[in-house]
């Protein structure tokens, strides 16, 4: 009953918006508007038949400092119809469900948006996997049994849902130890990785393997080692798992950590899947930054290849390409600095649609210094044409920062995202990757010092 009322309201709102938009539409977006219009009408007539996708909005509440996101991760679900409706107002900080995680939860959603997956980060339940059936609003009903990946990858796990039809999650861990010869001279740093795969459907551990991942003798002698890994991604064939890596370096003379050293080519660890055996390390000659991302998925399969962003690259972030042969395609040279005509581009989060066009969240040297770090922007990127354009239909406040940004929702060629500066209200925006048209969606009500970290 409640739902019907909501839908009627929504319906009215949609009609209103649609007619408004039609009225104001310029020549370019004539394609879009009637499209949504008819689509919505179709879904409205038979209410029970095909519900619109749930869009779950996530906010990170302020802990001690504005923008730190340590005060809880709150989620709230609306229909995609509501999400696109600028008259709808969503207030996850007032009405949301607090995801059980001591620090900011790393959330994933099923492709249809009906399930939210969470692995608790740090604290007493760090490593606990929980899944929730999305039922709209603040209602997220736990389903499945409890399982924890903490025994394998610790209580602060770096995990990602693989793109295999919501079957599997993968989490990784690395521990390092310096090695010395008989004369107490530094020889190398041993990096041991642990990789665990989790059956998301049955809530159980699928596989766990542990490996040493050596670098080349020359690199090791200089003190380089893999110090952090993250962002496992399946290749198109589904027989290899790629894991992003960050390199660090010790000074071989003292075995103390080094700074101001030469940044090596970007590296990725490649494992057999699903056995998680036979690790190798591949190196790009194009990019020179880390490939472990931060909190959002950093590499995606598209058209038979895996496209991977890098970070902290001295030349600005690249999007790198790993081909079906599981090696970097060094002929693919897509630099964001060049494409956007900026310096110091740093990809914070990104997401391609099936058409090879992606939305990239980034910051650069020209970003304003906001309350919680450098100002972020969104760009529309074409992986094939290797072009990038800043999306100017989204407002950018100096306090709008995207470092902790996690989630985009892809629906066809449209990509949903959240916008909102620290402590200020924002909106959901929907980017049509084909046309570049940007739709301002539901209002996001913020609270002091907090920010939005995406949609799922």
């Amino acid at each position: 009953m409640k739902k019907t009322i909501l839908n009627l309201k929504t319906f009215a709102a949609v009609i209103l918006t649609a007619s408004l938009m039609t009225a104001c539409s310029s020549d370019d977006d004539t394609v879009v508007t009637p499209d949504t219009d008819t689509e919505e009408q179709e879904t409205e007539e038979p209410v029970e038949e095909e519900d619109p996708r749930w869009i779950t909005v996530a906010g990170a509440k302020m802990g001690e400092e504005p923008g730190d996101g340590n005060g809880g991760t709150l989620i709230y679900a609306v229909t995609s119809v509501d999400a696109k409706d600028p008259t709808v107002s969503i207030d996850p900080f007032e009405n949301g469900f607090i995801a059980p995680s001591n620090r900011t939860a790393r959330l994933q959603s099923s492709e249809d948006g009906n399930t939210i997956f969470n692995i608790s980060y740090a604290g007493d339940t760090g490593g606990n996997y929980t899944k929730y059936t999305v039922e709209g609003g603040q209602t997220f009903t736990p389903s499945g049994s409890e399982v924890s990946i903490a025994p394998y990858v610790g209580t602060a796990p770096r995990w990602i849902k693989l793109f295999d039809g919501d079957q599997t999650g993968a989490a990784v861990y690395v521990s390092t130890e310096n090695e010395f010869d008989d004369n107490d001279a530094y020889t190398r740093t041993e990096a041991t990785i642990g990789v665990v795969t989790l059956d998301l459907v049955n809530s159980s551990i699928k596989e766990f393997q542990e490996h040493s991942v050596p670098l080349s003798a020359e690199e090791e002698a200089a003190g380089y080692y893999i110090s952090r890994i993250d962002m496992p991604t399946l290749n198109a064939a589904g027989d290899k798992l790629y894991i992003g890596a960050r390199l660090s370096k010790v000074d071989p003379a003292t075995a103390e950590s080094d700074s101001d050293y030469e940044i090596l080519g970007s590296k990725t660890i490649v494992l057999d899947y699903p056995s998680l055996l036979n690790p190798t390390v591949i190196t790009s000659t194009v990019g020179h930054g880390n490939t472990n991302g931060y909190r959002s998925i950093n590499s995606f399969e598209y058209n038979g290849s895996v496209y991977q962003a890098n970070q902290s690259d001295p030349e600005g972030s690249y999007i790198l390409k790993i081909d079906a042969d599981n090696e970097y395609d060094d002929t693919y040279d897509f630099n964001l600095d060049e494409a956007l005509g900026i310096e110091g581009a740093y990809i914070l989060a990104w997401r391609p649609a099936a058409n090879g066009k992606a939305v990239v969240a980034y910051r650069h040297n020209g970003s304003a210094e906001g309350v919680a770090g450098l100002q972020g922007f969104f760009a529309l990127v074409d992986l094939n044409a290797q072009t990038a354009v800043r999306i100017d239909d989204i407002p950018y406040d100096p306090d709008f920062y995207l470092f902790q940004y996690q989630g985009f929702v892809v629906e066809g060629t449209e990509i949903y995202l959240t916008q909102g500066a620290v402590g200020q209200n924002g909106n959901i925006y929907v980017v049509d990757t084909e046309t570049g048209a940007v739709t301002k969606g539901a209002e996001l009500v913020n609270t002091t010092g907090s920010h939005f970290i995406g949609v799922f």
């Binding site: 469900f97 603040q138 025994p151 861990y173 521990s175 700074s259 002091t448």
Partner: protein
């Protein structure tokens, strides 16, 4: 006034009845505040003639023979006073009044009238509580438990006996609270000689200063100070106790002092030993076993790697109450402890096995105390400590264990080792920290007269720290830096007492100086092109000032108004200045101290005696305004890969609240006490204020005591106790919206724990047997999110004491 009238009339009446052939000496005995002292003994020295004063403190000695006499007046708890007089033929009626001064040394035996030492301390103007340990030392009560029941003090313990403790005073905790043993920072003694291990029987009392710390305890105590005053009697005595109870807990202590009365040579020694398996039952969301595929089964488990042992003692030799010293001791303090670690800051599904901490300390001490040195009113007090202390962490087991205490299995059903090859993530360790420690506090005070007193105080504390790890290579151990920290804190205090002691004020200034040096070996190329190891030395020398005052005014008798304020400082510690190699935190030698303006305003009503009812009520409202809080900046895309994170001064904070306490007793055999403490703690960053999460902001404690006299045996005494402790629920997370769901995950539930106890003193007063039941209703109690504390526990304790030989 009324007393005076009565006494005068009495004297007139007496004189009227005076006899011809002998003289009558009469008078009144009062204390320094003018209060009459009934039942004081008045004796003519060398004769058998003597009387006790009456209810009004008056006495009359009849038939005093002719000649020279010395009349001695004494009263328990007060100094003995004698006066000479001559009875000649013409003297028939002599009036001789006595004013006795309170004897601080013997005060524990006083429970009649007069202000106790605790009361005196609590009416000086500071927001201070003085906690007597006398009763607790006979029961199965640990020092920390005793502190936790004190108003405004909250102790959070991460488990059972020997586990980590944090102290909070009016909302300020951690580094903001300084703890002393006889004025020496407790950190000097190390982990093996702390409030977990020192038995209450070694302690005379505990002073808790909230927000404003007097000059004689000057340190960089931002939120207040706790001073443990060890026994300093000069009377031969001996006591021993042993307690046994749940979780195989043994606590034993022996204290003895022998004084050679002729020479004043005094030897004293104390020994303690504590042991507990801490194998209490736990359950909850993280106490599960993992089966095939990682399937979890919740269980109730006994903690299996949580044992604690501490052993220690102190021996001193010196002189007491001799012409050149009230107390002079040189001594040695040794202690050693072992603590198994069951889990990290939280209880997780991966409990630790065989991770443990060890510490030991061996320290030499010197103590000198003299009142009226050289001239009346000049008091000197010196307390020094020097020695070594060591700390070791041992974590080398790589196999995973389950909450059952057995090896855990992985999803395939096999026993397995952690990828990090240790129990706590971060890798195996045999880390050792060696420290040379020294601390000396010197206080000099001069009472110009009854109204003016000046004092100066200095405390030095220094720590030289050296780290090593046997599991690390020679190279790594070579390039580990050393950190030295030396603090000098000076204070000057002026105390004014005026208007018949109704007004007491204390004005103080403090000067803080901290010198820190870090030495990091590094490789440099010398002029010949050779690599040489050189020490990179970074040092900083900082000076800061603070000041404050405390004042009390007795508006009408027994109603005292108290106010105190201080601009307090906390100097940055070694990690905050030099960073920590392991955490990629580097030095920031320009970091400023945290500072706070602290205010207390209170009233004290009492002690009021109405017939046999006695009661005291005291209240205090406070604010703390903290500036330049020290913390780490948030992680951003700029610093996420950086080795260059530094501690910075960021934001401010406030704590506001009140404390109140009530003590009531009836006829000396029924006692009731209750206290309540509530505060709001907020911090502000970049103009945004939030309530600090994970803070128990509302606590109440209550206690009842009833004494049965002559039960079973004559002259015996049975005390029955009931205590209740309440801590309101609080959230681990910042305040959320009004309509959110899922909040309960982060809640630390309300705690209500009740204890009962009995203690029976045998007629000869030498034996006391105590039986205590703690947490009688077996309530799950938590100080920290999900970390469960012990449930119901039983303890029996035997005490034996001889005070006269």
């Amino acid at each position: 006034m009324k007393n005076f009238l009565t006494a005068t009339l009495f004297l007139i009446f007496l004189s009227a009845k005076g006899q011809d052939f002998s003289s009558t000496v009469s008078g009144k005995v009062t204390d320094t505040s003018g209060k009459s002292l009934p039942f004081a003994s008045v004796l003519i020295e060398g004769s058998k003639l003597g009387v006790l004063t009456d209810d009004y403190g008056s006495y009359t000695l009849k038939n005093v023979p002719l000649g020279q006499h010395n009349i001695v007046v004494s009263f328990i708890g007060y100094t003995t006073l004698s006066k000479d007089l001559e009875i000649s033929k013409n003297t028939k009626q002599i009036t001789l009044n006595y004013t006795l001064e309170e004897n601080v040394e013997n005060l524990n035996e006083v429970n009649v009238n007069g202000k106790s030492k605790e009361t005196k301390l609590e009416t000086k103007g500071f927001a201070v509580n003085a906690i007597k340990t006398e009763e607790a030392s006979l029961r199965n009560i640990q020092t920390n438990e005793l502190l936790n029941t004190t108003v405004g003090v909250k102790i959070r313990q991460n488990g059972g006996l020997g586990s980590d403790v944090t102290y909070s005073l009016n909302g300020l905790s951690g580094n903001s609270v300084r703890i002393f043993i006889d004025g020496i920072p407790i950190s000097t003694y190390g982990n093996s000689f702390n409030l977990n291990s020192i038995p209450p029987s070694m302690i005379k009392n505990i002073e808790v200063y909230k927000g404003v710390v007097p000059g004689h305890l000057a340190d960089d105590a931002l939120g207040g100070a706790i001073n443990i005053v060890m026994h300093n009697d000069a009377k031969t005595n001996f006591n021993a106790s042993i307690s046994y109870g749940s979780f195989n807990t043994i606590q034993a202590s022996v204290n003895g002092l022998y004084r050679f009365d002729k020479s004043g040579l005094t030897v004293k020694a104390s020994l303690f030993h504590n042991y507990s398996d801490n194998d209490y039952k736990v359950s909850g969301r993280s106490v599960v076993t993992n089966g095939l595929g990682g399937v979890q089964t919740p269980i109730t488990a006994r903690r299996f790697n949580d044992a604690y042992r501490s052993t220690g003692g102190r021996a001193e030799i010196g002189y007491t109450n001799v012409s050149w010293a009230d107390q002079f001791f040189i001594g040695v303090t040794g202690s050693d402890d072992y603590k198994e670690v069951q889990h990290g800051a939280f209880m997780t599904i991966t409990p630790y096995k065989d991770r443990f901490l060890e510490s030991d300390a061996l320290l030499g001490s010197i103590k000198y105390q003299k009142k009226d040195l050289f001239t009346k009113g000049l008091d000197v007090n010196i307390n020094g400590l020097y020695g070594k202390r060591n700390r070791a962490v041992n974590d080398t087991v790589s196999w995973a264990y389950s909450w059952t205490g057995e090896r855990a299995i992985d999803f395939r059903g096999n026993e397995y080792q952690y990828t990090w090859r240790s129990q706590q993530e971060g890798g195996p360790t045999l880390a050792k920290i060696k420290r040379n420690v020294a601390s000396i506090r010197t206080g000099v005070s001069y009472a110009i007269n009854k109204n003016h007193k000046l004092s100066a105080n200095h405390v030095y504390s220094g720590i030289d720290r050296e780290d090593s790890d046997a599991l690390q290579s020679v190279l790594e151990n070579t390039f580990v830096g050393t950190r030295d920290l030396k603090k000098n804190i000076y204070s000057i205090t002026y105390e004014l007492t005026a208007f018949d002691e109704k007004l007491k004020t204390s004005l103080f200034g403090k000067h803080y100086q901290q010198k820190t040096t870090s030495v990091d070996p590094a490789i440099e190329t010398d002029t010949d092109g050779n690599d040489v190891i050189v020490d990179e030395v970074v040092s900083s020398n900082k000076n800061y000032d603070g000041y404050g005052f405390a004042a009390s005014y007795e508006i009408v008798p027994n109603i005292t108004f108290l106010a105190s304020a201080e601009k307090a400082i906390r100097l940055p510690d070694e990690t905050e200045i030099f960073g920590n190699d392991g955490d990629n935190v580097v030095a920031n030698s320009s970091i400023d101290p945290e500072s706070s303006e602290n205010y207390n305003l209170g009233f004290r009503f009492g002690n009021f005696s109405i017939k046999k009812h006695d009661f005291t009520i005291s209240t205090n409202v406070f604010t703390r305004n903290i500036k330049d809080r020290i913390g780490l900046p948030i992680e951003t895309s700029l610093n996420v890969d950086d080795e260059l994170i530094v501690y910075v001064n960021q934001g401010s904070g406030t704590s506001k609240g009140f404390d109140a306490q009530l003590n009531y007793s009836f006829n000396n055999n029924f006692g009731l006490n209750f206290n309540i403490s509530k505060f709001d703690l907020k911090i502000e960053n970049q103009g945004i204020e939030i309530d600090v999460p994970n803070t128990p902001f509302f606590t109440m404690n209550g206690g009842l005591r009833y004494s049965f006299k002559n039960l079973i045996q004559k002259k015996s005494r049975l005390n029955a106790f009931y205590n209740v402790y309440f801590t309101d629920e609080f959230s681990f997370l910042t305040a959320q919206g009004s309509n959110t769901v899922g909040n309960e995950f982060f809640e630390v539930p309300q705690q209500l724990s009740q204890d009962i106890g009995l203690s029976y003193a045998f007629p000869d007063k030498r034996f006391v047997v105590s039986f205590d039941v703690k947490n009688i209703f077996d309530e799950p109690v938590y100080d920290n999110l999900s970390v469960q504390k012990p449930g119901r526990a039983f303890y029996l304790k035997l005490n034996y004491a001889i005070n006269k030989f």
